[in-house]
């Protein structure tokens, strides 16, 4: 291998390869670029902004949950100015607005674009040895549609009445009965976001199928690529029904149709002036038909990143690569037929709910297999505990907790008690926050050197890791207890009205002071979690110019093709088309001279 000169690392970082596409100037290069790396970075920056913003929304909500009715410090005056919040208190309608937008922004504007748009764009073409995406222009349009959707969502905060207030699930008739324009904006924004995702999905799938480098057979794809491939299909086929539903709800809101409004609807004590005949449950079916696959859209890319980082830092191949691939494919398939487990308490009969809880249990098996494979991959490794690896390792038990607590929700009978409580909130935050977000952090720390040519600072990184890990658990662990005790979600007062203290004297079933008191602890932890992000934000920007320089194009001694390019990769990525001769994880191959053999090199 050391004799192979074709991919000499010493190459002058592709500076000359850059030269020929600079003509367009700044706009062409950074704003209207069709280069997948630039688009990936655009996605990444925008998504991180939304992640931050979504977090800010929820931090404000956490104040209202912990101290209901008291003016919000710091941002209170801002709320006052922007929304006429009297006295800077987050009133119930503002709370509902923030809650709905927190969910929407986190899911559709932060995690999906970061996990799929940013990491997919940056890494997939590199890992399969492609010069770019299959349709670079479509790629650009996809980002622009996403940005437009984001702008519509942001603008909706500032229209009269503010943004949508019916939860991220936007159940009809509530979504139609809120008299402000927020929901209409939400729907328009969603249609744009869905369009963006569809274009992105077409592009990714086509790229993975068509542009694999010679020798890159299906079973030689890095697991991350498989994860993105399945994610692409989820977006491609699950999103259109929500788009249809969005169009119908839009019609209900602005054209006076009754797709989701039943006959005899009486809002505010008056018979609504509609023809009726629609079905509120139809909306839920169409929403959750997307909604469930969507949660795997959130998790699969993170799993892919974690797998790459683990293989790299255990210095050995992933254990059970084939099982991983088949599991992720089965998850993809089955995730389309489990959706109604979000609807057990809408009055489901035994037959249909049996079907859905059975499929729900079936889909938990491939998740268990994936986790098991990753756990066993650690066995026999020579584990390097750098920052990306720490985040990747923490992902495992965190996702484990989130996934396992999905089980009592998945059985309809135990869901009777847990439905719509903070137990659900805790369940899914464990999978998306310390789960997915940690996976994404791992990815950021891991690929940062490829893109910038510099490492992020390890000390800051480890500080960020430990503080985040502790805070995340302090935020979400108590929510399980609150949920078990019956504390309901989406309560603008954090459940205070349901406390034993406020309830009618002698009544049974209120929340104890202790359970309510947890609200305060959680909020403090959430704010401290924000503080814990400061080292990261600082590190992220500081390292661009001052981080430790990489000493080679492959600073982590990795095997996959993304590390066999110049740093940063030039336009067109590879100096010549790589010839793939082996599987993705030949670490510590017996008989090889080094402890890693890149996919395009002979041992």
């Amino acid at each position: 291998m050391q004799t192979s000169t074709a991919h000499s690392h010493a190459h002058a970082h592709g500076a000359d390869a850059h030269a020929h596409h600079d003509e367009g100037g700044f706009l062409r290069k950074y704003v209207f670029s069709s280069d997948h790396k630039v688009i990936g970075i655009q996605y990444g920056i925008t998504a991180l902004f939304f992640l931050f913003f979504g977090f800010c929304l929820v931090m404000t909500m956490r104040w209202q949950i912990a101290y209901p009715g008291r003016p919000v410090p710091i941002v209170g005056p801002l709320l006052n100015a922007a929304f006429g919040a009297s006295g800077g208190v987050l009133s119930p309608d503002l709370y509902n607005m923030f809650g709905a937008m927190h969910g929407t922004i986190m899911v559709f504007l932060a995690i999906v674009p970061l996990a799929f748009g940013a990491f997919g764009n940056l890494v997939v073409p590199l890992q399969i040895g492609a010069p770019d995406m299959a349709f670079p222009r479509v790629n650009m349009v996809s980002y622009q549609a996403f940005a437009a959707g984001g702008i519509v969502m942001m603008v909706s905060f500032f229209i009269p009445g503010g943004a949508a207030q019916a939860g991220w699930t936007s159940y009809s008739p509530l979504a139609t009965s809120v008299p402000t324009l927020g929901q209409t904006f939400w729907l328009v924004g969603m249609v744009l976001l869905i369009t963006s995702s569809l274009l992105g999905a077409v592009n990714f799938i086509a790229t993975i199928i068509q542009l694999r480098a010679p020798g890159m057979t299906w079973m030689r794809l890095p697991f991350f690529v498989w994860a993105q491939f399945v994610t692409g299909f989820l977006l491609l086929l699950a999103f259109p029904p929500l788009e249809a539903a969005g169009v119908m709800q839009l019609a209900d809101n602005v054209l006076g149709t009754s797709f989701f409004l039943p006959t005899g609807l009486a809002i505010g004590g008056k018979l609504a002036n509609i023809s009726g005949g629609g079905s509120p449950l139809l909306w839920q079916h169409l929403f959750w038909f997307l909604g469930h696959p969507e949660v795997y859209v959130l998790i699969l890319p993170a799993m892919g990143i974690v797998s790459e980082v683990i293989a790299n830092n255990t210095r050995k191949p992933l254990w059970g690569y084939k099982s991983l691939v088949y599991s992720v494919l089965s998850i993809g398939f089955i995730s389309f037929i489990v959706w109604a487990h979000h609807m057990y308490l809408t009055g489901m009969g035994t037959k249909i709910s049996t079907f859905f809880q059975t499929t729900t249990m079936i889909i938990s098996i491939p998740s268990v297999i994936i986790l098991t494979c990753l756990f066993i991959s650690l066995w026999g490794g020579s584990i390097r505990f750098n920052t990306p690896m720490l985040f990747a390792l923490a992902f495992l038990p965190m996702f484990g907790i989130g996934g396992l607590t999905g089980l009592p929700l998945g059985f309809n009978y135990s869901d009777i008690h847990l439905h719509d409580t903070y137990y659900v909130i805790a369940h899914f935050h464990y999978v998306v926050a310390p789960g997915t977000i940690f996976g994404l952090f791992a990815g950021i720390y891991f690929w940062y050197p490829k893109i910038t040519g510099r490492f992020m600072n390890e000390t800051l990184g480890k500080t960020h890791f430990w503080l985040s890990l502790i805070c995340m658990n302090l935020v979400f662990q108590p929510m399980f207890l609150q949920g078990m005790a019956g504390m309901l979600r989406r309560m603008s007062d954090g459940g205070a009205m349901y406390s034993t203290a406020k309830a009618a004297p002698g009544s049974i079933g209120g929340l104890s002071d202790w359970i309510l008191g947890l609200n305060e602890n959680i909020s403090h932890a959430a704010w401290f979690l924000a503080v814990a992000q400061l080292p990261f934000i600082f590190n992220f920007f500081w390292s661009i110019s001052y981080g430790k320089k990489v000493s080679s194009d492959n600073p982590w001694d990795a095997t996959t093709l993304d590390w066999q390019t110049p740093t940063p990769p030039p336009h067109g990525n590879f100096l010549e088309t790589p010839q793939v001769v082996r599987g993705p994880y030949d670490y510590s191959l017996p008989g090889a001279s080094k402890d890693f053999v890149p996919q395009n090199q002979n041992a």
Binding site: L211, L236, P241, M248, F259, S275, G277, G278, S279, F574
Partner: protein, 264 residues
């Protein structure tokens, strides 16, 4: 490095990129229209007995539109074949017909829409139901060209009969004048009239947008984008094929829309 397989198919998949791309896109379109068709079925099955209007639309017009789309589909595929045989002139002729068909389709559809917006139903306070085209309305009276519906047979049935007779036998209907003060409810056959009209407008509206989009693409390739035929003919032919695939899909959706909305 250029992106491979933009023109020539990749060996192991046998496809060029755009072909795969359009099929993926069409797969998502199947789910989009699939969701709407599912909604149609649910709304229809969930409707009260007799509430679902049948035979409300003008079948001859719908038939004509069906024929128009079928014709456009065959001209697309023949045009592509002509191009494969290097007969650019014939291709241009055939595709021009396609675009004209698309325009005709949209024109007819707008006429149908306009007709529905003019078509009113009035329910008076004493429970009578009038139905017909709006002639005049002001603060005092509403004048309809149409008549009283036999409400005893059930609202929807009455509507259906009046409507169909009106359309089948042209418009010699008497005008009726209804006083504003007597009216309990008045509304046209727009999307809000009932769930049938809602799903009708949504399905056909979305379909019409696809027709317009497809026609724009075909027209672009046909005229402003035709230069590529000289510089990169294979790629040009691929473009024609891909736009054709989209067009056939639009036709295919209509093949289901027509019986489902007009005939059943």
């Amino acid at each position: 490095m250029d992106i491979p397989y933009t023109v020539q198919p990749r060996r192991d998949t046998g496809l060029y990129n755009a072909k795969l791309g359009i099929w993926l896109f069409l797969a998502s379109e199947v789910m989009l229209f699939g969701a709407l068709f599912s909604s149609y079925i649910l709304l229809r099955v969930g409707a009260d007995p007799g509430e679902w209007p049948q035979r409300l639309l003008n079948v001859p017009i719908g038939t004509v539109n069906t024929l128009v789309l079928i014709t456009s589909s065959v001209t697309v595929v023949l045009g592509w074949a002509a191009l494969k045989q290097k007969n650019f002139a014939k291709y241009r002729k055939l595709q021009t017909i396609t675009v004209l068909c698309a325009l005709t389709f949209v024109g007819i559809k707008s006429y149908e829409y306009a007709d529905k917006f003019k078509h009113y139903q009035v329910i008076t306070k004493d429970g009578k139901v009038y139905d017909g085209h709006l002639v005049k309305q002001d603060n005092e009276v509403v004048v309809l060209e149409g008549g009283l519906i036999d409400a005893s047979k059930g609202k929807a049935h009455g509507v259906m009969v009046a409507q169909r007779e009106a359309e089948l036998h042209g418009g010699h209907h008497p005008e009726v004048e209804i006083k504003r003060s007597e009216i309990q409810k008045i509304g046209n056959y727009g999307p809000g009239h009932n769930t049938y009209m809602s799903i009708y407008f949504t399905l056909t509206g979305l379909h019409a947008l696809h027709v317009i989009g497809g026609a724009l693409v075909i027209a672009y390739i046909l005229w402003p984008g035709a230069g590529m035929y000289k510089t990169d003919p294979e790629r040009y032919i691929n473009r024609v094929e891909v736009s054709g695939l989209f067009w056939h899909f639009v036709d295919l959706v209509w093949i289901f829309l027509f019986p489902v909305l007009y005939l059943l």
